[in-house]
Amino acid sequence: MPANRMSIRFKIRRQDAPGSPSYWQEFAIPYAPDHNVISALMVVQNNPVTTDGQRVAPVVWDRNCMEEVCGSCAMLINGVPRPSCSALIDSLTQPIVLEPLPKFPVVRDLLVDRSRIDEGLRRVRAWIEIDGAWDTHEGAPRISPIEWSANYLYSRCMSCGCCLSACPQFGPHSAFIGPAALAQVRLMNAHPTGRYDQAERLHAIMGDGGISDCGNAQNCVRVCPKAIPLTTAIGELGRQTTVQAVKDLFGG
């Protein structure tokens, strides 16, 4: 049996509190097939003893759905930002190096504060206004199946933040809202009812930290676990903001 079939080894970057220095610890658990990073971390949690035999505080991380739809479990796994529940141990080289998701403030160990994602969504009004003083529409608005299937791609975003952590323009140093919120603007602007607020959303992304902070490195689309066509959204929003800017300057 190869060595990595006998045990599962982790090298984890730990941090006790926000702002405190980080340090590394290694753990090993007996091999079992079909583990993912979270289920293996649960085994570590049962008996948090490092490979040097030291009993330590259990490792803290975040997770919820365990089926790659909630986005809460994203972390840096062997240097790549990705959801840990869908990172299968059998496909990873060992020792598996776990680090908190970059660009976001660490709360503790592998748990980060991702509220900046929500702030971005709020800033761009990534929702559809349905309650007003009058009916916004009658009956179910119709869209073509082609449009629907294009829109569907964007609706799968789970706000995991992988795209943001890979983006060279996003981080504590910049006000950039990042690709995830931009893709939601693309989605909401295409909705038959959401269209009414298109100009407001476009103005939001034409502001500070908006679409013009994108540098087209296109890392985002490469790391997104839901294969969301982020750079297509950015191109389409480039077109929409061009038209919007012409309207702003010349009227109409």
Partner: protein, 210 residues
């Protein structure tokens, strides 16, 4: 419904993008095409090419408004844009990530090259009659030194890369190319344009050599 107008930063960034092509990109293309006539020798170069340019109507105004000011703005705002970069080239080894980094680094390289290049030709020519009267000879003298040839070659290739890659990302920024396939296709078109322009440019440099 009140729509606050677009943030001035958005407009500045778009202006920065536009100026890179119009007039700067067009000027670079024209400049390289023109200098590729160096292969016809000193007589043609000094007597036709330089003489035509120097006889242009409103020349100083054109030089300042069409070339110097747009370049200064593009360079200055470009430096601001470059400070936003936090590239991790080894972690994300994707071609576009490298191009993103190279675009910013080449911009800084071009700025240094242009200060030297303009200083050695246009500015020096203001007080040295020999530079003005025999630009071909002056260029031949400069480019005959191998380090100077290397400097010009580097400056040329960086500029052509910056224009070609800038053109391909302009497609995304302005919304000409949206789908991944269109962005890829246009990327190849820009690469082809860059190669052609680089060839013309190198041809021009070689034409000055004795």
């Amino acid at each position: 419904m009140s729509h606050p107008a677009a943030d001035s930063r958005f407009l500045l960034r778009r202006l920065h993008s536009l100026l890179g092509l119009l007039p700067i990109g067009i000027f670079l293309t024209f400049h390289l095409w023109e200098n590729s006539q160096s292969r016809f020798g000193a007589g043609h170069y000094n007597g036709e090419v330089v003489a035509f340019l120097r006889g242009m109507n409103y020349l100083p105004v054109l030089e300042i408004v069409v070339i110097a000011l747009p370049l200064l703005f593009h360079a200055g705002y470009g430096l601001v844009v470059a400070t936003q970069m936090r590239a991790e080239l080894t972690r994300y080894r994707f071609a576009r990530n490298w191009l993103y980094w190279l675009q910013r680094v080449s911009g800084i390289g071009i700025l240094i090259f242009l200060l030297l290049h303009v200083g050695m030709t246009r500015i020096e020519g203001l007080w040295r009659v020999s530079v003005r009267e025999d630009l071909f000879g002056h260029m031949q003298h400069l480019l005959s030194q191998s380090w100077m040839f290397g400097l010009y070659l580097t400056g040329l290739l960086l500029s052509v890369f910056h224009l070609a890659n800038g053109l391909s990302t302009m497609g995304i920024v302005w919304g000409l190319t949206t789908s991944a396939r269109a962005q890829r296709r246009f990327g190849f078109v820009c690469a082809g344009f860059g190669l052609l322009l680089a060839t013309i440019g190198v041809h021009g440099l070689i034409g000055f050599l004795p």
